[in-house]
């Protein structure tokens, strides 16, 4: 079972939100969908979940067209930033209705999660704070038991404790019964430990789509005195650099082949956030983006 996006484009008046996106979400994997504001992350998720229609191209869920297909839509659940439940509905009632729509919905687990997150289910959905509104939606998403669950900015407004609890419950749930998880977020550092696959979207185009581990192995940093670093990285695929005083750190994409490192030079690992910032910075992937601290 998989979700396929074939040449999907979306235009909002003059804005090209997605441009011929080709993408697959495979079974039982955890994806990180990363991109800057307005890159097209939410648009992809909204098109998959039948909330918006693609201007061009097609989306298939388990081989069936996703648009206006209830059979296909029952296999996906999108937890979005927007609360879709009626404001006057109480949390408990919303959970009961979710259980009516999704036969696999685990109501007991949802109530257990509500206790764990200290969410008052007797409150109306509209009266919940931003953080608790996110928690409510997370609880539904974690209890719905569909093969594909999409989280669009899942930790919006959550404090550090609740964020950690969410990641913990997500991993627990995934370990017990694996399903496809797609997390679209700005908090890259936090999800870097749990995602297997990484998709980076920029200006409506997929610019990276590979295993997180492989991606991180493809890059490294070279730090040291400016003149030595410059000499060492000449001709390499530089994706950015930072300068502090007389020291420079250059980010390189490619395999590290230095046999003998000059004195004062250090080779460091890339972290996901840094890589993301470098490759989605306005100057593009292959430009050496100088920044002076």
């Amino acid at each position: 079972m998989k979700i396929e996006l074939k040449d999907v484009s979306k235009k909002f008046q003059d804005t090209q939100a997605l441009n011929k996106v080709n993408l697959n979400f495979e079974e039982e994997k955890i994806y990180g969908l990363l991109g800057r504001n307005g890159a097209g992350k939410s648009t992809i998720l909204n098109i998959i979940a039948n909330r918006q229609w693609a201007s061009d191209g097609q989306v298939f869920i388990d081989g069936q067209s996703a648009w206006e297909n209830s059979q296909a839509q029952k296999k996906v659940y999108l937890m979005s930033e927007k609360c879709m439940y009626p404001g006057s509905m109480k949390g408990e009632k919303a959970l009961k209705w979710s259980a009516a729509f999704y036969p696999e919905f685990d109501l007991d687990y949802a109530k257990f999660l509500a206790d764990a997150f200290e969410l008052n289910l007797n409150k109306k959905v509209s009266s919940l704070s931003t953080g608790y509104s996110s928690i409510f939606k997370l609880i539904v998403a974690l209890s719905v038991n569909t093969p594909f669950v999409f989280f669009d900015e899942p930790v919006l407004g959550l404090d550090a404790n609740h964020r950690e609890l969410f990641y913990q419950k997500l991993i627990e749930k995934y370990s017990e019964k694996p399903f496809t998880v797609v997390i679209s977020t700005h908090l890259i550092e936090e999800i870097s430990q749990i995602i297997e696959e990484i998709i980076i979207i920029d200006h409506g185009k997929i610019i990276f789509n590979e295993s997180c581990e492989e991606l991180l192995q493809r890059g490294y940093t070279v730090s040291g005195p400016i003149n030595i670093v410059d000499r060492l990285v000449a001709g390499l695929n530089r994706i950015g650099s930072d300068q502090l005083g007389g020291l420079k750190t250059v980010t390189i994409l490619g395999e590290q082949n230095f046999s003998d490192l000059p004195k004062g030079i250090e080779i460091g690992k890339l972290d996901l956030q840094k890589l993301f910032i470098k490759i989605t910075s306005n100057k593009g992937v292959n430009n050496d983006h100088e920044s002076n601290a």
Binding site: N50, R51, Q52, M84, P86, A100, F101, Y102
Partner: protein, 256 residues
């Protein structure tokens, strides 16, 4: 029953119940107050055209039955097609239930009015089509009454639903233009134009009078035939439903 239909009907349950509770309370209070004598005279109370109240109620519920249901449906994997189908079913069920309920009230109210002379109780058909009402058998009258109410109520829901879907699809700018433009056109510009054209002798009859005559004809009032009204209500309802579907099938979830 699909969860969406169950959900939508559940949404209607409380308002309909409250509506009839209020209605019954008013009726009991009114019937009771007819016995009170004030300054030597007994008060007289008239209940005329209870269907009109139901029609307004259903129009308002129609206005409120789109956005929340659309969001809830889409969140839970319900397609627009399913959503529209369940809306039609819901409309039919609610209109049928309220038609029967109102008919029962008409019969009960009529019986009570027979006992209390100062209480008058009549339905819309009795007022609008008195000749038809006095010439038909009880069976035909009941059947006509039920069909008349049913199409009237479905039309009221369909108009309310269409307005709310149309407003949902409009941009802020268009919404403002329509909200201001329609009342201004209907209640200011058209009457002015009507008067101008009539005074200038361009038309021999006021446009408003022509519209009035047209309405009397299509509602069967001029011919005294309620079935013409049923047909007219049905056509309007079908048109509203068709337009609602055209708007709904490409409706998207708006962020604001």
């Amino acid at each position: 029953m699909s969860p969406m239909l169950k959900y939508q009907l559940n949404d209607y349950k409380k308002p309909v119940l409250y509506y009839y509770m209020i209605f019954i309370a008013i009726f009991i209070l009114s019937a009771g107050s007819t016995n009170i004598t004030f300054n030597g005279s007994t008060s007289s109370i008239q209940f005329a055209g209870i269907e009109f109240a139901s029609m307004i109620f259903l129009f308002v519920t129609g206005l409120n039955s789109f956005k929340d249901n659309f969001f809830m449906g889409i969140q839970n994997g319900v397609t627009r097609k399913e959503l529209f189908k369940t809306h039609l079913l819901e409309m039919i069920i609610i209109a049928a239930v309220m038609s029967v309920a109102d008919q029962i009230f008409l019969v009960i109210g009529g019986q009570v009015a027979n006992v209390i002379s100062s209480l008058e109780f009549s339905g819309l058909m009795q007022i609008g089509y008195p000749e038809y009402f006095s010439n038909q058998s009880l069976l035909i009258l009941t059947l006509t009454n039920l069909v008349f109410k049913f199409v009237l109520y479905t039309m009221a829901i369909a108009i309310g639903y269409f307005i709310t879907v149309a407003f949902y699809r409009m941009s802020k700018k268009i919404k403002t233009i329509v909200s201001v433009g329609i009342p201004v056109t209907l209640f200011m510009l058209l009457p002015m134009l009507d008067e101008l054209l009539y005074s200038a002798g361009i038309v021999d009859l006021h446009i408003s009078s022509r519209i009035g005559n047209f309405m009397l004809a299509v509602t069967g009032s001029s011919s005294g035939n309620p079935w013409i009204a049923c047909l007219f209500f049905f056509v309007i309802m079908t048109l509203m439903c068709a337009l609602s579907w055209l708007l709904l099938r490409r409706a998207t979830i708006k962020n604001r």
